[in-house]
């Protein structure tokens, strides 16, 4: 069953097409790795799912619900982390999460659960603006994970984390479908990272979906097309390069 599905989803800004006729299928309780170079349209796609930007054309369905009709109901089911951590610098980490907890109507204990989950428990009383980059990133993740939402949209969640932090967050994301019945859409520039984390992969270039499927499907498809299959990075670069040479769009 698909938790998220798009049909010819398109977003244009003037004469620039950020996302072009995208048909994505994200299955329930799977981690979907969203790959693509800068400006490929990953963040724009995620923003459309959250109603932050309106699609120019096409539709998407999240847990059977449509935008804009069911926007509020969709947002109740999604925990998100888009582009950069979003918080109030004048509030402590705990106060930031309390705002989200109250707006979502979650129990009080969910705040400390989320803080412990991302390792911010000891720093709960510190002002968010005084957090290090990695800690801000963790706070953003805690804001997405609070209350264990059934769908998680994470846009480059490991940016700014040290290797230990990356490993920790990766393990956490990997465990979410099993632990909380969660469906995760995660975008990352770190290709080995996605390889270790994702069940399914979508590769986006110039707003178009070049590939969608499992890692094994990707390897088979790359082999057929004559692309290297030793590691995801080489396959990805070869696919993007070939698409760019074809003219991209």
């Amino acid at each position: 069953m698909n938790m998220i599905e798009t049909r010819n989803l398109t977003k244009t800004y003037g004469d620039f097409t950020a996302v072009s006729h995208l048909n994505m299928h994200i299955q329930k309780r799977r981690v979907y790795g969203f790959l693509g170079p800068n400006g490929a349209g990953k963040s724009t796609t995620m923003k459309m799912f959250l109603g932050l930007t309106r699609p120019t054309e096409g539709q998407f369905y999240i847990d059977g619900k449509t935008y804009p009709k069911d926007r509020m109901s969709i947002l109740k089911e999604i925990g998100s982390f888009i582009e950069s951590p979003a918080f109030y610098g004048n509030l402590t980490g705990e106060e930031n999460l309390e705002i989200i907890q109250k707006l979502l109507g979650l129990p009080k204990g969910s705040v400390s659960d989320a803080l412990e989950l991302v390792g911010l428990g000891p720093f709960r009383k510190r002002l968010a603006k005084k957090y290090s980059l990695g800690m801000k990133q963790r706070l953003g993740l805690a804001g997405a994970l609070i209350g264990h939402p059934p769908i998680l949209l994470l846009d480059e969640p490991t940016n700014g984390l040290d290797p230990a932090g990356i490993h920790e967050i990766r393990t956490l994301i990997r465990s979410l479908p099993r632990q909380y019945d969660c469906t995760v859409l995660v975008s990352s520039h770190l290709l080995p990272e996605v390889e270790l984390m994702a069940d399914d992969i979508g590769i986006l270039n110039h707003g178009r979906l070049l590939f969608e499927g499992t890692l094994d499907d990707l390897k088979a498809s790359a082999r057929n097309a004559g692309f290297p299959t030793d590691n995801l990075e080489d396959t990805f670069l070869a696919m993007i390069d070939a698409d760019n040479q074809r003219g991209g769009r």
Binding site: L50, L52, T53, R54, S73, F87, G89, N90, E95, I99
Partner: protein, 241 residues
């Protein structure tokens, strides 16, 4: 609940101290004026509250407008500085409701400082105009009128502050509007009704010109009318973002 959350967001921003500070400065103005030029005013005949309002309200209103400009900028700077507003946009809460709550908070704190200022004016009247009578009803009508005619300015400034991520642009626009509208002729009715200009009117002046009902009808219409601009802005923002 949204009201308590919005108040919580203003923690450590200096928003409430700034309003209370501005209230003290505006309240101190008539006291200093009376200490310096008591005879000029006590020699005048008429209602002491009207004399004090005529002598001081222009400056007090300007301080009130300036703090509304600064307050709105603080509110939205807090939202934009670390992308807090973006987080709110992805939570199941209507952005229109957040805006209205911000307006309610500003309107309430403004009511507090206007009550404070009116109380100081009453104190001045009792101290420097003994035996000339002061009606509590008149005081309440004056405070209520001054509050009501400042609301369109509060609403318009919040719309401006929400439209720019860079606080200095909103602050600049606000300050330009404060000074531009204060130097325009005050005898033109249409200008008197504009946000940033209407707060300079006094209740006594409006009674004298028979404009009380006009202000009482138009300002409560103008305020939600300007609020609709924000709703429209939020709609188009989603299309171009």
């Amino acid at each position: 609940m949204t009201l308590s959350l919005e108040i919580k967001k203003l923690k450590r921003t200096g928003y409430f101290p700034a309003f209370i500070g501005a209230g003290f400065i505006a309240s101190a103005f008539p006291v200093i004026n009376m200490l310096a030029r008591a005879q000029t005013f006590t020699a005048l005949s008429g209602d002491p509250l009207t004399i004090l309002m005529d002598a001081n309200w222009q400056m007090m209103a300007m301080i009130n407008i300036l703090i509304c400009v600064c307050g709105s900028c603080i509110m939205y700077h807090t939202e934009y500085a670390d992308n807090g507003l973006q987080k709110m946009d992805v939570l199941p809460v209507r952005s229109g409701a957040l805006f209205i709550t911000k307006f309610v908070i500003t309107a309430l704190i403004l009511a507090i400082i206007i009550v404070m200022e009116t109380a100081v004016l009453a104190g001045c009247a009792l101290h420097w105009f003994p035996g000339r009578g002061l009606s509590l009803w008149e005081l309440l009508k004056t405070a209520g009128f001054q509050w009501l005619i400042t609301l369109p300015t509060v609403m318009m400034m919040l719309v401006i502050a929400s439209a720019w991520k860079n606080m200095w642009i909103s602050l600049g626009i606000g300050v330009i509007l404060v000074f531009a509208l204060s130097i325009l002729p005050q005898d033109l009715l249409i200008l008197n009704l504009c946000p940033f200009s209407s707060p300079y009117q006094t209740y006594a002046m409006a009674v004298q010109n028979d404009r009380v009902s006009l202000f009482l009808i138009l300002c409560p219409v103008e305020t939600p009318g300007l609020g609709l601009l924000e709703m429209f802005y939020q709609k188009i923002r989603r299309c171009v973002q």
